[in-house]
């Protein structure tokens, strides 16, 4: 397997559009890296530059220290699973999987062994003689994975490989991919716009927006300590609640003034706000839905109370989303399904102030998590 290094990678098209700006990333051997971001953020373009399907406008891309910028895709020892699977329609499953090895002039018996081994792993043994058109979406996806596996490449690239599957199959295949990563010990770069996939699969996640890397971190760190407002809003479902606030300071204590409410912050958060000179300034307060509870739920140690009327009640089985209005902003609370709150009820909501995030209103950069 391999170590990858992307230094100051840029992609600029002839019409002047910059799809990727100054992308820097070091990928260790056996890492499962996720590129995540909204459509058009440059994640697929970066992946395609790694594959060699797009030229690199500037910067350096290395695999195991070897410069790859001008190396042909076929000589990079990379396998890719496409969103559309890109199976060869005129070939059987066997030939689809064997094609890459045939091109490398691998002996027939070795090809046969590798294809059958991969087919066994992916439960494709009975489908080897079928053409792709005779397969279901999930089976096609597995063939695409098999085609990548048999080549035993240095790096696996996956471009939204699950986005064409139905919800149930997607969850199933997500687990399969995770198992496969553990089994093969492969270095994988995986592109998705689905943050659940990103959170569950990745060892590290690269969050991108408008061609710029927003944050590179482990799923847990991204969730708990987002680097800016975009990352905070993108990671997490339902997304974080954001409220415009003013930072008020009294002695060593900082408060966030949101309309009629004055929310006291912890010593640590207060210190950061005061030290960074935010006293009296406008900021954005963020709090995740699970850190907003109704009265009946277990209370956190540091709390702030707000009143709200439940606009929408969404039961998801194990939990309930309560939507309510706070100072003109729609808020979401994620509470236990045993909650007594119903649509139209006036509820005292409790904010866990330890979990409040504060962002600079201008730069949107995190001040304190």
């Amino acid at each position: 397997m391999a170590q990858l290094s992307l230094k100051n990678i840029c992609k600029k098209y002839p019409n002047g559009y910059e799809a990727v700006k100054d992308f820097n990333l070091e990928i260790a051997d056996k890492e499962f890296i996720i590129f995540v971001g909204p459509s058009g953020c440059g994640k697929s373009t970066t992946l395609r530059m790694v594959a060699g399907l797009e030229s690199i406008s500037s910067g350096e891309f290395r695999i195991d220290g070897e410069l790859m910028n001008d190396v042909e895709p076929k000589d990079r020892d990379i396998a890719m699973v496409f969103q559309s699977y890109a199976l060869y329609p005129h070939m059987t499953v066997y030939n689809n999987m064997a094609f890459g090895l045939k091109m490398k002039k691998v002996p027939k018996d070795v090809i046969d062994q590798k294809v059958r081994d991969a087919a066994k792993i992916l439960d494709l043994e009975k489908l080897l003689d079928r053409k792709p058109r005779a397969l279901s979406g999930g089976q096609r996806q597995r063939v695409a994975m098999g085609r990548a596996i048999v080549r035993n490449p240095k790096v696996f690239l996956m471009d939204e490989p699950l986005s064409n599957l139905d919800a149930k199959l997607r969850v199933q295949m997500r687990t399969e991919i995770s198992k496969l990563h553990q089994r093969l010990g492969a270095t994988i770069i995986y592109v998705t716009h689905d943050q659940t996939e990103a959170m569950t699969l990745g060892t590290r996640i690269v969050v991108m927006k408008d061609g710029v890397v927003q944050q590179i971190d482990s799923p847990q760190t991204l969730y708990n300590q987002p680097g800016n407002l975009f990352v905070a809003s993108f990671i997490g479902s339902p997304q974080m609640n954001f409220l415009d606030a003013v930072c008020e300071v009294e002695g060593n204590n900082a408060f966030l003034r949101v309309g009629e409410y004055r929310i006291a912050l912890s010593q640590e958060k207060s210190k950061k706000l005061i030290d960074k000179g935010y006293a009296g300034k406008e900021v954005v307060m963020g709090i995740r839905p699970e850190d907003v509870s109704d009265e009946s739920s277990t209370r956190a140690e540091h709390q702030a109370f707000v009143k709200g009327t439940v606009n929408v009640y969404e039961l998801l089985g194990a939990e309930v989303y309560l939507y309510f209005d706070m100072c003109g902003t729609q808020m979401t609370a994620r509470v236990s399904s045993s909650t007594a709150a119903k649509e139209g009820d006036k509820v005292d909501f409790v904010l866990n102030t330890d979990k409040i995030h504060v962002f600079d209103k201008e730069t949107e950069i995190t001040i304190t998590n």
């Binding site: 594959a51 042909e72 076929k74 559309s84 094609f99």
Partner: protein, 279 residues
Amino acid sequence: MNSNSLERNQKLRTAGTYLFFIIGSIIMIFPFIWMLLTSFKTVAESMQIPPDFFPAQWIIDNFKDAMASLPFGALYKNTALLIFWRVVCAVAFSSMAGYAFAKLKFKGKNLLFSIVLVQMMLPSQIFITPQYQMLAKLGMTNTIFALVFPGLVSAFGTFFLRQAYMGIPDEISEAAYLDGCNHWQTFVKVMVPLTTSSMAALAVFTAVFAYGDLMWPLIANTDLKMMTLSSGLATLRGQFNTNFPVMMAGSLLAMIPMVVLYLFFQKQFIEGVAMTGGK
């Protein structure tokens, strides 16, 4: 309205549709039937007014005369070679050019493709003089090459196969690059097999056009032994009178290879004509 009247209306509509298509078929097949019957008539019968539908006597002398007047063996051979080379060249070159225009990135691609399109928009007759001059200067008239020459490349074929290649997702060729193919291998091993139905359609279209091409073979090859069936048959037409029964017999003989081909490749013929919009 009860179910009986609904059923009656449905039957009437079906009968009307059938009648319409039967009349259409008769109109389409009539010239062929007339040719067949005329080939067995005498000259006097063929010119008779009002005409008799069936010949008074079924004579086969017209076929003997036609075969004596024209070297049918050479005509069949020349036509077969013309069709073969036109089809091979049109499919081979058009698929390569179509692939390049559809999938490769190079400077001036759009300009070059516009030139191809312009060629399609111009009437083919304006190319005849320069093409003939080129052949004459090369001393290549009265050869098979002379017959094939204008059909070596096909603007229509390039356009048609470009559309076919454009219908194949880029990911397929990209997967082939990652699997170790270069451009040529991607083209031969992956893209060509995916466009075989379009190529078959182009082959049928080219074959039908080459078979029926009259003007160019008549100009390029004046030696009767180097003519095609269509140009050879045209020599049966006299300046002042024409022996229609012999001409019809000759036409019938000329049709045989195409009818046999049609019987073998009926599906491809119909698909080809439908896909290319040829008729």
